[in-house]
Each structure stands twice: as structure tokens, then as C-alpha cells.
Amino acid sequence: MTPTLHIKDLHVAVEGKPILKGLSLSVNKGEIHAIMGPNGSGKSTLANALMGNPKYEITSGQVLFHGEDISEWAADERGRKGLFLAFQYPTAIPGVSVANFLRMALQARRKAAGDEKPLPPKEFRKLMKEKMALLRVDDSFAGRYINDGFSGGEKKRAEILQMAMLRPEIAVLDETDSGLDIDALRIVSEGVNALAGPDLGVLLITHYQRILNYIKPQFVHVLVDGRIVKSGGSELAHELEAHGYDGIREASAA
């Protein structure tokens, strides 16, 4: 069977400097994968390269989505096809309301899926309300400007809210746990768990084991210096917690 997302021997450079050095990974719908790695190992580079950030140059290898090579695609094509990135540092767009933006994004996504008709305003509002309740954000959120003046926790919730609205097939969560207190972490994790299921594949990128207490991956991969050095089941996360990245590094070097 063709994997939903298939990363093949991916090499990525930033400003000419090689960061990812041959990374391979498959993620299917219905699966939750965690990628763990120390600072500077290339986690955010992977997330950005998958989403098509033009600053991250794929120098060799492939990213296949439903078997189609998307590595040359612009970010919007990837997004419309069902790839989603929850940003580590979501950028603020002053003057553009969350609802207005999501209405446009949802329409673009539906259109790409062959549904020309925009969602009627009433249904859109209903959907927004439902998803905002899921992320436990106030109704006023819809009218606020994207990430403008949001607290760290609000930003992360807004990312998952967008994911809930756009219903991607593969969601890459880039350090969605960073900067969250326990309550916010729980809300965000519950949101992700509510969306997880047979129609969604999740690639959870994290530095810390903490979030894995809330979101349970079936697969854990350890990223060191631009390569996956070890893959395993959820037990690998506990191993990491016990021995640290150095332990893994030594074990894999041996």
C-alpha cells in the first residue's frame, strides 16, 4: 500500500548549510508518529521542508504524498492537498481576523477537494463555534487578529483550532508542547486526540517526552544531526527519558 506521506532519503539545506542528511520516514493516516531530537538536530527544518517553506531547500530525496512527489510544490498546494503544519512560532497577521482567514482557507481546501461551493455562513459559524469549544477558547477568538497579541498558549490552541477546521490528512506538529503550562498542554493534547483517528496521520515533533504523556504515539523516532538514528514503539520515548539523547547517540554509534 502507498503510504500517505513518504519521506525518502531527504536532504535539506538552510542558507547553503546541510541540515537534514538523508531522512526517511512513512506516515499513514490513522498513525501517530513522534520525532524526538535534541536542539539543533533538524526538527524544525523537517517541519518547514515538509510544508514547503522556500527558505528550506531540498537538495536531494523526495517527499511523496499519496505517491506523488510534492517536493517542488508551493506551500499552498500542499496545504490544499491535506498537509498541515502547526507552527512552533506562529506568526502574527495584524488586521486579519481568525474567522475571515479560516473562511478563505476552508474554501480553498474544499475547492481543491472538488467542492466549489463555499460553506454557507451559518454552517461555517456553527463549525467555528464547535471547534472553538473543543479548544476551549472564547467565542471572541474568531474576531481577533491572527496570533496578534496572543499568549503562547493561545497561539498553540489557535494552531490546533485551524487544524480542526481544515481537517488535514497529515498534520505535522512542530513543538506544539513548547511554552505551554500543564493546563494548556492538556487542552491542546485533548484537541489533537479528538481529531486523531483513521482519517488523520500525525507527525509530532518534540524535544521533550512530556507531551507523550497526553498524546500516545505508536511510533517514535530519534533524530540526531539530521538523521533518524533509531525508531521504535512508544517504549523508546521512555528509554530516551531514562538515558537522554547521549545514551541513544552512543548506542547508535556503537
Binding site: M51, G52, N53, P54, K55, A74, A75, D76, R78, G79, R80, F84, L85, F87, P90, T91, I93, P94, G95, V96, N100, F101, L102, M104, A105, A108, R109, A112, Y145, Q162, L166
Partner: protein
């Protein structure tokens, strides 16, 4: 030309004949002929003649003048400009106006009065039935001078004098159309009053003079609009707008400029704001080839509040040169200015903003911000704020920025499925939102927002 597009199918839009004097060959007799044709009262005719003399003795500003350093008009062929044009007869219904103008003007229920000028003539006037009972005067200047000579003599030239510079002199000497609005003490005008200046005849120059005076406690919203669709040849408009806001009065004044791309528009616009009064100026500048405008707010009564919310969008080779002046002459006044602009292709904008706080204007509070969003590496924006503060107990804040659309913002929006164009439009729209949100009249806000969006869309 489609006949429905003209008010006078037989003549409008016809080129001026060789007999029509050019500005370069005009004589005092030609000026007198304009006065006679426009139905000037003796007061107005005398004023014209005096202004004509003064104009002839006064040179154009040169690039040595601080406010003209970045706008070069030395090559402009003033002598070829045609200050009059074939007559456009008055029409009796807005539905007889050119279709494009009707669209610009919008539905009748969104206004209480309307004056329309095409080229050098007023072609349409309309007032709510209540105006007479309320004692409101609203008419082209010559007509107002016949109806209310004392009022016109009191307010005409009281805020902007003809002898300030060559442009104000030219406007006073060659005045055409324009509008005079007087709202008596305590009278409140519900819906906006609109003054539309349009054009259709190639190379004709217009000299609209707009005078608005609100007496104590009066309230009104007035929209001056400059609109055309780009007839052949060049267009010239030299305008003067003078506003007086009486004590405890409240005026929202909107300047909405969306000329075709062939128009050179020079404007001097000034308001005097009285004690405890509220004034809000919403400025939208989108069209024209070259636009030079002074927007000046004189706070002349204690407790006056003057606000300016401006947006401009330049594209192609448009050249905009704006000057704003927050002039605190007395204390306890508040001025708040936000002027935001976007520039595409090779557009060039200059913003010079001065805050002056006079020696006795203690407890003044002045704010000024100019923000520019550059959308092309060939576009250029200069922002030159300055302060002259003579009082010591004041609050004064100003800031200027020139920036570009942030790649990270575009990537963020695109990652959600928006194409690049839509992503850019959202960011540009978001940039203007704070200033558009400040437009108080809802119908105007919708109109301006749509016009800015169309312009952003290319």
C-alpha cells in the same frame, strides 16, 4: 463614446476648441468672462480679479521650498492647460448623470444632499427637504453668494487665503463649481452630504473650492470626492478646501480621491477646529498621476479634538506627495493622526508630517504615525515627520515606518491553502484595517474598503 456616459450627449466630452483660451494666454478679460458665466456676485468677481493679479505676480514653488523638494513640477506645461470648458447643462435627476458617476455616488438613501461638478461646472444639486427648515445652506459658491452673501463673505477665504501661494491664488482666480455648506447653530445633519468633483473633457483644468462651516454645536458628515475614469489627455485639478468647525460642533470630513490615472491634482485643505469641538478627517488617496496635498488641522479652541485617518495606495508610476500639519495654537487640544499607505510597482510617495505646539498651547496631546508597506522593490516611500514644540507641558508621540510584506506571513497563510495572491491581499488588507476601521460612517467605510481592495487587487 456611449451617450449614456455623458450629461449632454451633443457636446460633453467634445474637445475644447482653439478659441478656448489656454492658461498661458489668458487675460484679465478671460477671467472676467469666467466670473460672468459663473454668475459671480460683485464680491466674488472682485475677489477673482485681485487673486488673478496676485497669481500672476507669484512664481510656482520650486524644489528649494521644503515642501516641494521631492516633487518636481518645473516641466509641467501649465500654459497649455484649459481653465474653462464647453458647458454642461444642469440635470434635474441623479439618474441623468453618467452611469459610472451614479455608481460611484451610490444610493440616494445614503446621503442627505449632493452636488456634482463635471469639468468646470456644477451639473447637479440635490438637498433633503429638511434643509430649508433647518436653515442649512448648501450650493455652488456663486449661488450661495447670491442666497447668503453675508455667510459667504464671512467664510470664503477665512481659513485658506488666496494669497498663500500660487496655487491658492490660481484657485481663487479661476474658481469653478465647488461648494458652500453652512450648518447653523445646533443643527444636526443625519446623513452624509456629498460633493462630487468629476471630469470628462481632455486637458481641462478644474478649480474647485469647497467651503464648509459648522456653527456652534452643529453636527455633520461631509464627503468630498474626486472621481474620473481616465479620459484622454491630461487632467488638472487645483483645489482649495476650507473647513470651520465651531465651538462644540462635530464634523466628520472625508476626502476620497479616485481619479483616473491622468490627473494632476494640487490641493490645499485646512480645517480650523473650535473650542470643545470634534473633528475627524478620513482621507483616501488612490488615483491620479500626481497628487500633491496639504491636510492641515488648526486647533484654535481649547479642548478641541482633531483626528485624521488616512490611507493611500500608489501603483504604476503614481506620485503622491502629502503634507499634514497638526497645529496646536491653544492648549488642552488633542490631535491624533494615522496615515497608512501601500505602494506597488514604481509608485513614489512622500509623507511630511509636522506637529507644531505653540508656546501657550500647554497640555496639548499630539500623536502622529505614518506607516508604509512597500510591495515592489522599485517603489519608494519617504516619510519625514517633524516636531516644533514651544510649550513644555505637552504629550507628543510620532513614528514612521517603511516596511515590506513579511515572507513568514505569506508562508503561514499559504500553508493553509491560500494562493500567493490571496495571501498578499489578506496581509495588505490587514495593514489597512486599523485605519479603515476608524472611518465613522458605515456606508463610506464600505465604499472606501471596496475601493482599496480593488486597488490592491491591481
Amino acid at each position: 463614446m456611449n451617450p449614456t456616459e455623458t450629461t449632454t450627449p451633443a457636446r460633453a466630452g467634445a474637445p475644447a476648441t482653439d478659441a478656448t483660451p489656454r492658461l498661458g494666454s489668458m487675460t484679465q478679460n478671460d477671467v472676467a468672462a469666467i466670473a460672468a458665466r459663473g454668475g459671480d456676485t460683485e464680491f466674488l468677481a472682485k475677489r477673482r480679479t485681485a487673486a488673478w493679479r496676485w497669481y500672476q505676480d507669484t512664481p510656482f514653488p520650486s524644489r528649494l521650498d521644503e515642501l516641494w523638494r521631492r516633487t518636481d513640477i518645473s516641466k509641467f506645461k501649465w500654459e497649455d492647460v484649459i481653465p474653462t470648458c464647453p458647458a454642461h447643462p444642469m440635470v434635474t435627476s441623479a439618474s441623468a448623470l453618467p452611469a459610472s458617476l451614479q455608481e460611484a455616488i451610490g444610493p440616494a438613501e445614503e446621503r442627505s444632499a449632493l452636488l456634482v461638478q463635471i469639468d468646470a461646472e456644477t451639473v447637479y444639486a440635490e438637498r433633503a427637504d429638511t434643509f430649508a427648515a433647518q436653515g442649512i445652506t448648501f450650493a455652488p459658491i456663486a449661488e450661495a453668494a447670491r442666497l447668503q452673501p453675508a455667510l459667504v463673505e464671512r467664510y470664503l477665504g477665512a481659513t485658506v487665503r488666496p494669497d498663500e501661494n500660487r496655487f491658492t491664488g490660481m484657485n481663487a482666480a479661476l474658481r469653478s463649481g465647488g461648494a458652500f455648506l453652512h450648518v447653523p447653530k445646533g443643527v444636526r445633519v443625519e446623513r452624509p452630504i456629498r460633493i462630487v468633483v468629476s471630469r470628462q473633457t481632455p486637458n481641462v483644468a478644474q478649480f474647485p473650492h469647497i467651503v464648509v462651516a459648522l456653527e456652534e454645536g452643529a453636527e455633520a458628515t461631509v464627503i468630498e470626492e474626486y472621481v474620473s475614469s481616465g479620459e484622454p489627455g491630461i487632467g488638472v485639478c487645483v483645489g482649495v478646501t476650507e473647513l470651520t468647525v465651531g465651538d462644540a460642533a462635530s464634523l466628520h470630513f472625508a476626502t476620497f480621491q479616485r481619479w483616473g490615472g491622468n490627473v494632476y491634482h494640487f490641493g490645499t485643505e485646512r480645517v480650523r477646529v473650535g473650542r470643545d469641538s470634534r473633528f475627524h478627517w478620513t482621507v483616501t488617496e488612490l488615483g491620479g498621476k500626481l497628487r500633491k496635498a496639504d491636510f492641515e488641522m488648526f486647533l484654535e479652541g481649547e479642548g478641541a479634538e482633531a483626528k485624521l485617518s488616512g490611507c493611500y495606495f500608489g501603483s504604476e508610476t503614481q506620485h503622491f506627495d502629502f503634507h499634514t500639519f497638526q497645529n496646536h495654537k491653544v492648549g488642552h487640544g488633542v490631535s491624533d493622526l494615522l496615515f497608512k499607505g501601500a505602494l506597488r510597482s514604481r509608485a513614489r510617495t512622500i509623507y511630511q508630517g509636522l506637529i507644531k505646539i505653540h508656546r501657550d498651547a500647554q497640555r496639548s496631546d499630539a500623536y502622529q504615525a505614518n506607516r508604509n508597506l512597500i510591495l515592489s522593490n522599485k517603489a519608494r516611500a519617504d516619510s519625514i515627520p517633524s516636531l516644533e514644540i514651544e510649550a513644555n507641558d505637552v504629550r507628543c508621540t510620532h513614528g514612521a515606518t517603511v516596511g515590506q510584506v513579511d515572507d513568514e506571513q505569506i508562508f503561514y497563510l499559504m500553508s493553509r491553502g491560500l494562493n500567493r495572491h490571496d495571501a498578499e491581499m489578506l496581509v495588505i488588507g490587514g495593514f489597512f484595517t486599523p485605519v479603515l476601521d476608524r472611518i465613522p460612517a458605515e456606508s463610506l467605510r464600505a465604499l472606501v474598503t471596496a475601493a482599496v481592495e480593488r486597488k490592491a487587487d491591481g
